[in-house]
Amino acid sequence: MASKYPRSLRCCLPLWAFTLQVAFILLLCFLISSDIPQMQQKFMVTYQVIPDLTLMAALGFGFLSSSFRRHSWSSVAFNLFVLTLGVQWSILLDRFLNHSFIQEVTMSLSSIQTGTMSTVPVLISAVAVLGKANLVQLAVMVLMEASAFGVTRLVIKNTFHVDGHIFTMYGHVFGAYFGLLVAWCLSRSLPRGLDEEAQTEKVQMATSSSLFAMLGTLLLWIFWPSFNSVLVEVPNDKRKAVLNTYYALAVSAVTATSMSALSHPQGKINMVHLHNAVLAGGVAVGAPCLLITSPWVAMVLGLTAGLISIGGAKCLPVCLNHILQIQNPGGIHYTFGLPGLLGAVTYILMNKYGIFELPSQLINDFGALSFVLAMGMASGLLTGCLLTAKVWRAPHTSKYFDDQAFWEFPHLAVGF
């Protein structure tokens, strides 16, 4: 039998993080010049959106997953670690993949911006894995997923000619299914039934940490219009993106609350449903938001996304947990996965083409979507298998969803 005590990370984590950071500094030093690029726009125009994005990524995603009773510290703090690692690696990857080696590349605010945008799928899948993986495993996952995402972006851009905005919106689907498969691999390597019993108590939410999760949800909810409109260049399109997202989010918030009450026998509202379903509208409207010209379409989309999300939260855990053995406590499947798919399909159907090229364009678009899905699943499976290796010193099953494995508690205070 394995040791009951959490395995020590003392030699593993510092070494790994230190090496990565030094490698990043060296790579940046040789590959990216520190000159200021020619400024096309005023400083504030380019800068304004970066705090919004960082706020969503660091605070929003961090607190979104903090609703587990005994795992809030890890959710918030690991999220920050994943974010910083992911942004650096994405900036470097962008330089590797999109520019030749001789080319002079400068560091600009837009590289920070795209770096943050491409880290969002990683943060989504981190939510699915949180509680079962330690920081070392998460770091490996970040490297794998960001690379897979970068390669996918390159292929999509060159083969399927899908633009950056749409691809970033497909990122939700990518991240969600990647995370689900990693979580599946992690739970499959354990003896059946052992983990469920250990987790049931810890996965329950507590009032105060549910409020913390609400903080994350609200921040994400507030800044989602910025997220959906970042990569849109044309001012008119940008306005459309913001307005559509705004209305879709509002509708999905109303839908989520009412459907959550409707689906409970006594008409009680479930806080966990709110955390997730409220955002579904924003995710769903992401891809098609440039094509929607009147608010009612966006609102219908928000309504559908809210319904799907609550429906998923109600019905899917049953089959996911028992048949496929996928643990999905963070609910990313129905927050990001299903609404993201809905949005992608809507985008493809709404794309108005000439009559003659209809089939080929349609096939192309569906091809792109299924390629993203396939890449997400394949790389997720690969990463999951990699993460089950013994070298990462994964936490013991009895320590799943438990901060005690990762944190020093000088006080072991009341209330924990």
């Binding site: 993080a17 800068y47 507590a206």
Partner: protein, 426 residues
């Protein structure tokens, strides 16, 4: 403290209003006809940055100080009170010093600078957190901002040193000022672990909100008063990279110094920000990217090491009890930032006018004036007329706030008491 505190605060506020009436005017006199004068343009340009700084001061610093289990109300509440008072006083003092006692106009830059001046007070507040009464804090705010404005005037106008992100004039100054005050106010009764001086699970999570807000908006803080466009651009990128590097280093080091490779929440809350503090002075210089990341990494390392080894030493040997550990978050990285700027000028990375000697003088005068001012303030605060809380009531909200009877939010916690036992270490 019913009458003493309220009457003093109201009296001060009246004084502020009178001073504003005498000296301060708005900066909008000449633009009745012009639709977009450069002044309005600058206002709209800088307003988002000002907002970010405002969030950092009120939400960031406020929540960062909520980590004590019974002192959360005071952390956020007094933070708001002191910052609101301090920014008025800062506007007056900075304006008077800058304009040699004349009437002066205020614009967006004055608002940003006034917010900056309150940051010093909030940093010092962190050092004495829990051991002082609101009246003492009020007196400290007034004195500290006066000293700060004098030092800042000396550094920027007489030495002409470059200190965009204010590593020296705000962070190092605030930290050493606070340490000096804490040293004078040292009480033997608080030397050993006080029963309230610890955190609980949720108070640490609240503190994490503050950390994240500070982390997110730090690039705005360092670029707010940089010269427009190119230098601001540089400041943002350098600060961002430095912050990112210091996060990774803080995690690595925290895991290295703790038992069994675990992390310590105190390190994560604070050392992740050290990169932003340290890169402040050279944020807008033409330093290469790897230098910015290097500064961030080293700052993260020294901050964690400071928490682990230096703070206990300060507390036990030098009789300075630093509640929040501001010395490790603001003091050491601030000094390091000043030294880094001297190096940067040595390697010719600064296009500005400042020289190495002037940077060194700025660093010296910041620390010197902070210590002298702090000692003097500490002596004034030690007078028995300010209602200092007795030892047993330190770190406790109930002395100043109406608190709910039952503190824990969730009675369910106690049903799972069997999880509270410590696992035996191998």
């Amino acid at each position: 403290m019913r009458f003493k505190f309220s009457l003093m605060a109201i009296g001060l506020e009246v004084v502020m209003i009178v001073l504003f009436g005498l000296f301060v005017e708005y900066d909008i006199a000449h633009q009745v006809n012009a639709t977009r004068s450069p002044k309005t343009d600058q206002f709209l340009q800088l307003y988002p940055l000002f907002q970010d700084v405002h969030v950092m001061i009120f939400v960031g610093f406020g929540f960062l100080m909520t980590f004590l289990k019974k002192y959360g109300f005071s952390g956020v509440g007094f933070n708001l009170f002191l910052a609101a008072l301090g920014l008025q006083w800062g506007t007056i003092v900075q304006g008077l010093l800058h304009d040699k006692g004349q009437n002066f106009h205020i614009g967006i830059k004055n608002m940003i600078n006034a917010d900056f001046s309150t940051a010093t007070v909030l940093i010092s507040f962190g050092a004495v957190l829990g051991k002082t009464s609101p009246i003492q804090m009020l007196v400290m705010t007034i004195l500290e901002i006066a000293v700060f404005a004098g030092n800042e005037h000396l550094v920027t106008n007489i030495f002409q040193a470059s200190d965009t992100g204010a590593s020296m004039t705000i962070h190092a100054f605030g930290a050493y000022f606070g340490l000096a005050v804490a040293g004078i106010l040292y009480r033997p009764g608080l030397r050993w672990e006080h029963k309230n001086e610890e955190s609980v699970y949720h108070s640490d999570l609240f503190a994490m909100i503050g950390t994240l807000f500070l982390w997110i908006f730090w690039p705005s803080f360092n670029s707010a008063i940089a010269e427009p466009e190119e230098k601001q651009y540089r400041a943002v990128i350098n600060t961002y990279l430095s912050l990112v590097a210091s996060v990774i280093m803080a995690y690595a080091l925290s895991s290295l110094v703790e038992r069994r490779g675990r992390l310590d929440m105190v390190h994560i809350q604070n050392a992740t920000l050290a990169g932003g503090v340290a890169v402040g002075t050279c944020a807008d210089m033409e330093i290469p990217l790897y230098a910015a990341m290097g500064i961030g990494s080293i700052a993260g390392i020294i901050s964690v090491l400071g928490y682990k080894f230096l703070s206990p030493l300060l507390g036990n040997k030098l009789m300075i009890k630093d509640t929040c550990g501001v010395h490790n978050l603001h003091g050491l990285p601030g000094v390091f930032g000043g030294l880094a700027s001297i190096l940067a000028i040595y390697f010719g990375m600064s296009a500005g006018s400042s020289s190495m000697a002037m940077q060194a003088a700025a660093l010296g005068s910041s620390i010197g004036s902070a210590i002298v001012g702090g000692l003097a303030t500490g002596l004034i605060l030690k007078l028995p007329i300010w209602d200092q809380p007795p030892d047993e009531n330190c770190y406790d909200d109930s002395l100043y706030w109406k608190v709910p009877k039952v503190r824990e939010l969730d009675p369910q916690f106690f049903q799972h008491a069997h999880h509270n036992h410590l696992e035996h270490e191998v």
